[in-house]
Symmetry: C2
Subunit: 283 residues, 2 copies
């Protein structure tokens, strides 16, 4: 493995670049990005060795896609058309059904591996890339059996150097679960931020009154709408289901309050308290 092409040199692509560089001293990392300023920044930050374009992909041993999921969906078939028979193409999107579907009958389906490394921060762009972002994080791999054996092995080498724990799921299960544990959190944070900003017209007041609890709960509302709009679009059905359940739970909580039923308010909270154990598992 020598020539690695990273399409999308932001938080995820840039952080992967930092890891794969350690694979061997001969590795050359090429960056492809429709945002020329990001490419220049990635170069000056030494995330990539050279700028490249789509037409160069035939030279790639490995292509990593780290762009919004709608862009992955539309570009992936084209990328597979361009690469050689020995190239491994990996995506990193937060949805898997549409992406797997669009290449299910592609003649080079065996060159592709669908993955979702569950890691990130609320920041974006090349400057957000950090070393060790993926260490001890989970990487969900979908439809591994559709990828060529030799290329599966190559992928495992990469995930090993990234320090990731692998979990295998089908795309439908992935999208359903991830709607709960990731997509819903983002909507919850965005709408909480909106509710508070609408009310507190004077932002100075929010600075002064809000504590670390508020900061933690709305942190994800800093996330990029360019990345998240396509995720919600691709995972529409599952996300709407989670929103329905979340809204129902909030409404029930409100009704308990309206009825002065504070015993059930207490129970609702106590029953959720064992989230502690779950969070210990994450942290």
């Amino acid at each position: 493995m020598k020539n690695i092409y990273i399409i999308g040199v932001g938080l995820i692509g840039g952080s992967i670049a930092k890891d794969v560089k350690k694979l061997n001293p001969d590795i050359l990392i090429y960056g492809v990005d429709k945002n020329e300023a990001h490419l220049d920044e990635a170069l000056s930050l030494n995330l990539i060795d050279e700028k490249a374009i789509f037409e160069d992909l035939y030279k790639a041993d490995l292509v990593i896609l780290s762009i919004p999921v709608d862009a992955t969906e539309s570009l992936l078939p084209e990328i597979l058309n361009k690469v050689s028979d020995n190239t491994l193409v990996i995506d990193s999107g937060s949805t898997k059904v549409n992406i797997c579907k669009v290449v299910e009958n592609h003649p080079k389906r065996r060159n592709f591996l669908a993955t979702h490394p569950i890691a990130g921060t609320e920041f974006s762009g090349p400057s957000a890339a950090i070393e060790g972002l993926f260490v001890n994080k989970t990487n969900i791999i979908c439809e591994i059996e559709k990828t060529a054996f030799k290329l599966q092995e190559r992928a495992l080498t990469i995930f090993k150097i990234m320090g990731m724990n692998l979990r295998y799921m089908n795309p439908e299960a992935h999208d359903k679960h991830i709607a709960y544990v990731s997509h819903l959190s983002h909507i919850s944070a965005f709408m909480l931020g909106k509710t508070v900003i609408e009310k507190e017209k004077n932002e100075r007041d929010i600075f002064d009154l809000a504590g670390s609890g508020f900061a933690s709960t709305v942190r994800l509302a800093k996330s990029s709408p360019h990345m998240w709009t396509p995720i919600f679009k691709q995972n529409k059905t599952n996300v709407i289901e989670t929103l329905d359940e979340y809204i129902n739970n909030l409404t029930k909580f409100k009704e308990f309050m309206e009825a002065d039923n504070f015993d059930d308010i207490f129970n609702e909270m106590e029953n959720t308290n064992h989230i502690k154990d779950i969070l210990n598992g994450i942290a």
Copy 2:
């Protein structure tokens, strides 16, 4: 100032104890708590110098109340009955209207100062007490004009050694604003935790699939129901108002998704993105 009585030796009371100990070398800190195990723990952690009981309060120069807000509401008049004319009594509750109301006509109203130090963690009990918890945090002071001049001064000495920034508000404004920037965050986190736990019966799956984003958004769902139930009860009207607005915003987001109106989904998120600047102010 020599004899300081802390009623409730948990996260807040214990952390205040660590700070006020630095006031001068002669300070003696007495702990009062209905939980005998907590008192013993506070003693062994050196948070307090001695255990004490309610009947001792006549000896106090300073009484700090750090117990659930319903307990403060019911005990405060009794405490004021017991203390001397030169004692300062401070509470630290997350609601202010009921607490100020219950003593508005008390003959020793001038011995009381209503405060809300906006600091904490999701943990509780004496072992959760930490040094420096209040540094650079906001302390909201209500009805300062009702406290005796001399005791106002004593309070300022204490807040200075805690490192807090002071903001003055009336109790009604306090309860209304804090419903948005604190109480709603807790409900949002509890119900998000509930929604995910209900769905993911297999907790191992939540460990594996959830990332730091989920952990951050539900962190407050670890909070104590004993502390939070009385807060929601006392601030019922304001909290229901915030919940109504939050549920409306979530419902609107869902309706945009159902209508495939992803332009507005994008706008909703982009308009909330400037929460970044607000959070920078907090952090």
